[in-house]
């Protein structure tokens, strides 16, 4: 039986009325194709219909910014519901064989060029600069979660919010591990790859750090107790004296305490589901420059209640959303952190992947020029 920490209600006192806030969400949309040729790639994935549902979910929530991972084969289904209200990043492409010249005799040399990363932000927020950077280290092409089959990495966005505040967002998908490998303690090379990615990210951030707040979001495939996030990323950046790093979940869900590293095979729960602490692989970290405008997380939500359809999870990760307050100092008026604990033994595996799948519904038709889109119920 697993225990999941689901929601948090934050009551803000003091200067809550004049505070300016914005919300950000990270979500792995599970957009790998259900099948490539005869191979079942993601048979339980949401597919086209489910992706439309995910898009509609996001539209309904109305977050200021949404950063997604695994936006591969159902990009249009996913983003059509968001078209009216949001501006979107450039899509890097799908995972598939159609129209591609693939050297099947040497699959070891093949890598899909897409990173699966996608960002959308509400109309009014402006993008001034963006860049994509692949990870320099990956592990696993035909096993260990097949990370090297796509071009995983991070994207950097310079955004100006409606009130003029400029922020920098890093959206990423880090190296995954295979659940069976983790249970057998054979994931050390996955961990090594992730550690190198954390280090690459740290160097990138420090190189380009200025006075703007930085937000790091994504499917980080990392747990504090398993991956050396604290010592290699947070402490290293803090030690420069130029900036301070926070994790919204740590602050608002875990009493400000980072879970300690644990030796051993797997540092998670008893039955292979979500960590008892409520920590998930999807994280929202933020970095305040010591000489710039500060932001602070004032609410954190892992939506396990609404992110479903017919009782089944929409994707294979729950969305994590965080509301930030813009201000020069950390809010002191958070007086009530209410944790709701539910019992749930269906949804997460060790990777945060859904156990059950779903798929019905809405499809998209395209005209011959492949430009017109129409949602049909």
């Amino acid at each position: 039986m697993m225990v999941a920490i689901l929601t948090i209600c934050v009551t803000q006192a003091g200067y809550a009325q004049e505070a300016k806030t914005f919300s950000i969400t990270t979500l792995n949309v599970d957009g790998l194709p259900q099948k490539i040729l005869v191979a079942k790639v993601n048979p339980d994935g949401p597919g086209g219909g489910g992706s439309v549902r995910i898009g509609r979910y996001l539209q309904k929530r109305g977050y200021d910014m949404v950063f997604m991972q695994e936006d591969f084969n159902y990009h249009e289904e996913l983003t059509v519901p968001l078209e009216d209200d949001y501006q979107a990043d450039a899509w890097s492409g799908d995972v598939g064989v159609d129209g591609r010249q693939i050297d099947y005799l040497h699959l070891q040399n093949h890598r899909f060029e897409c990173d699966g990363l996608m960002g959308v932000w509400k109309n009014g927020i402006t993008l001034t600069s963006t860049s994509s950077t692949p990870w320099t280290a990956n592990f696993g092409k035909f096993s260990h979660a097949l990370d090297e089959m796509v071009t995983k990495g991070f994207r950097r966005y310079e955004l100006t919010l409606t009130d003029g505040l400029q922020i920098v967002v890093y959206n990423m998908h880090m190296d995954a591990g295979d659940t069976a490998d983790e249970r057998e303690g054979k994931d050390s090379l996955d961990r090594d790859a992730r550690l190198k990615q954390w280090n690459q990210l740290r160097e990138e951030i420090l190189t380009r750090l200025d006075t703007r707040p930085v937000i790091v979001v994504g499917d980080l495939n990392s747990y504090y107790c398993r991956d050396q996030i604290k010592s290699n990323f947070i402490d290293e950046i803090d030690a420069t004296g130029r900036a301070k790093v926070y994790d919204a979940w740590v602050e608002l869900q875990n009493g400000g305490k980072y879970p300690a590293p644990v030796d051993g095979i797997v540092c998670c729960e008893a039955n292979g589901n979500i960590l008892e602490s409520g920590e998930v692989l999807d994280k929202v970290l933020y970095i305040n420059s010591t000489s710039g405008t500060e932001i602070h997380a004032v609410s954190y939500k892992l939506d396990t209640t609404d992110y479903q359809h017919d009782g089944k999870m929409l994707g294979d990760h729950y969305p994590v959303s965080v509301t930030f307050q813009i201000g020069s100092r950390k809010p002191t008026g958070i007086v009530n952190v209410n944790r709701e604990t539910i019992t749930n033994n269906r949804y997460y595996d060790l990777q945060g992947r859904r156990v059950d799948g779903h798929a019905h519904g809405i499809v998209i038709e395209r005209n011959r020029e492949n430009t017109h889109k129409r949602i049909i119920k």
């Binding site: 005799l105 040497h106 699959l107 040399n109």
Partner: protein
């Protein structure tokens, strides 16, 4: 190999001197470097072609007495790897088969096997390194060491180290994988190379991902016995060359008139000097079909001192002598049961030896570190090479996928780890091939003389009769089973299963207990093999009342 290419190489050889020299340990000198196109052919049919960069190089090594010698060889790099447009998967140390004479040495451009590897339709992205072996190319003034100890193996390993240096200096990537392979003489040398690697070259950065040995004389002592015992042999030339090589390299001092009959006895010196089989053909040795026509009676008589002395020397130089194998290395040993050049017995004795060193044989690729296949039973030596080649090429091609992460792919591992006979039968059933149903047809039951009432050993006898029709004995089958790593329990499980008429019927179970009294009189001709097999399966085999 094209004529133009040969000309280029020969021209380069004549004008040699523009070589490079690296560190003393891995020094080398390039004799020629050219770009050319190679083709993979079967008879006159071209299967594919490929542009390659072809190096002929030489490097220091040692002869059989430990004296320095300069050896030559080739390095063949696909052009797309050499120019950096295609990633390299690794290096194949290819050890050539018996050649007809010095003009066929790899450095002379005659051998077409490397072309067949690189230009075959799978287009493997590997670099091929081949040594001439001592006595050919740059070491033409030395005697050859044909199937005799580890001299050629040392030449090949030194050649590999020098080739790596050459590739480094040319800034050509070498990939991640390293294979050691050869068929016939190459199969023999591959195993000597594996041995020498374990004993001397392990610390010099050589770790093979797999050694593929096909049709090799893996036990020269057993080979001599087998040749003499059988008398008939289709490779009289090679046997002659082998015995001359042993006498010369091991300094046995046997007078060739004591060893060989005429006409060979009077022409041995010419054979030694020319290293050419054409001499043997000219004097008629190639036309002989029995060993006793070649050898003096003393060397055909297992009771004679001469026979025993020669065998003793062969025991000294055989591959297994002094080898403590590294069980992390992987092997594929294939040998046709009807090999007419190198009797299967010469090869398969190494399998139980490897088993005693900790290897577990298996017919299934990648299930264990020792993949065996001695079940190719209808093919002679040369056609069997094609089977070996196809299996080897498939493995090499698939290797970067299966071992991409440096370990066996989990998905593949999960498929093969528990694969046994019973699972094969279940798999066949899932494909619509119901062996149990076939076994229980009235025709089959009549053929098997009501097997439900027969004992296990009576059944074996009946199977023997059936196997004779396909030119096999039950001894062959038991040896295949042994080599394939199948246990008595596996057999009994299958036997019990296929005997069931349907799943609901009462099972007639035959179990092998800890003590089995074997009715040896039924199985006299394969008693020792059967006993070995049962004992390896953990059965306590006792002598019965008929004696054993």
């Amino acid at each position: 190999m094209t004529t133009d290419m040969r000309k280029l190489i020969l021209t380069a050889l004549l004008t040699a001197g523009v070589g490079l020299s690296a560190s003393a340990q891995n020094a080398y000198k390039i004799l020629s470097e050219c770009d050319t196109t190679v083709k993979a052919k079967i008879e006159k049919v071209t299967l594919g072609s490929r542009d390659v960069r072809h190096f002929v190089y030489e490097y220091p090594s040692k002869d059989g007495d430990g004296q320095p010698v300069t050896i030559s060889g080739i390095v063949m790099v696909p052009a797309d790897i050499a120019n950096g447009t295609t990633p390299c998967d690794g290096i194949i140390l290819f050890n050539h088969h018996t050649i007809g004479g010095p003009e066929q040495a790899p450095s002379q451009g005659e051998l077409d096997v490397p072309s067949g590897i690189l230009a075959n339709p799978l287009k493997p992205n590997y670099i091929i390194v081949m040594s001439d072996y001592i006595g050919y190319g740059s070491s033409i003034d030395h005697q050859i060491a044909y199937l005799c100890g580890d001299t050629n193996a040392r030449n090949c390993l030194d050649g590999l180290l020098a080739a790596r240096q050459l590739l480094d200096d040319k800034q050509i990537p070498q990939g991640r994988f390293l294979f050691n392979m050869g068929y016939s003489q190459g199969g023999t040398e591959s195993m000597y190379i594996a041995k020498l690697r374990d004993m001397e070259y392990k610390d010099r950065g050589i770790t093979f991902d797999k050694t593929f040995s096909g049709g090799g004389m893996l036990d020269c002592e057993e080979a001599y016995s087998a040749y003499v015992e059988k008398d008939q042999c289709d490779a009289i030339n090679d046997v002659a060359m082998f015995l001359i090589s042993v006498n010369e390299n091991c300094h046995l001092g046997i007078d060739y008139h004591d060893l060989f009959k005429e006409p060979l006895a009077s022409h041995v010196q010419e054979v030694i000097e020319t290293k050419s089989k054409s001499v043997l053909s000219r004097i008629g040795v190639s036309d002989l079909d029995s060993l006793h026509q070649l050898l003096q009676p003393a060397y055909m008589d297992w009771k004679s001192d001469e026979y025993k002395a020669l065998k003793a020397k062969l025991a000294e130089i055989k591959i297994t002598n002094g080898w403590e194998p590294d069980t992390t290395q992987r092997y594929f040993i294939e040998h046709s049961r009807h090999d007419n050049y190198v009797p299967v017995k010469c090869a398969r004795t190494i399998i139980p030896w490897m088993k005693s060193k900790g290897f577990k044989p298996s017919l299934v690729p990648g299930k264990t570190n020792l993949q065996t296949n001695t079940v190719v039973f209808k093919l002679k030596h040369q056609p069997s090479a094609a089977i070996w080649f196809v299996q080897t090429m498939a493995a090499v091609q698939a290797w970067p996928v299966i071992y991409y992460e440096g370990e066996q792919n989990r998905y593949y591992h999960d498929v093969v780890k528990d694969l046994n006979l019973m699972k094969v039968i279940k798999f066949l059933e899932s494909m619509g091939i119901d062996l149990r149903k076939m076994f229980n047809t009235s025709q089959a039951r009549a053929f098997m003389a009501a097997p439900r009432k027969a004992s296990f050993f009576e059944l074996l006898q009946q199977i023997q009769d059936a196997l004779a029709k396909v030119d096999l004995t039950i001894n062959d089958v038991i040896e295949m089973i042994l080599d394939a790593g199948i246990t008595p329990e596996d057999i009994m499980e299958v036997y019990n299963y296929i005997k069931q008429t349907d799943s609901s019927s009462a099972r007639e179970t035959v179990m092998l207990g800890e003590h089995v009294e074997v009715p040896v009189y039924l199985l006299r001709q394969y008693e020792q093999t059967l006993a070995d097999w049962l004992m390896l399966g953990g059965v306590d085999v006792q002598y019965g009342q008929w004696g054993w």
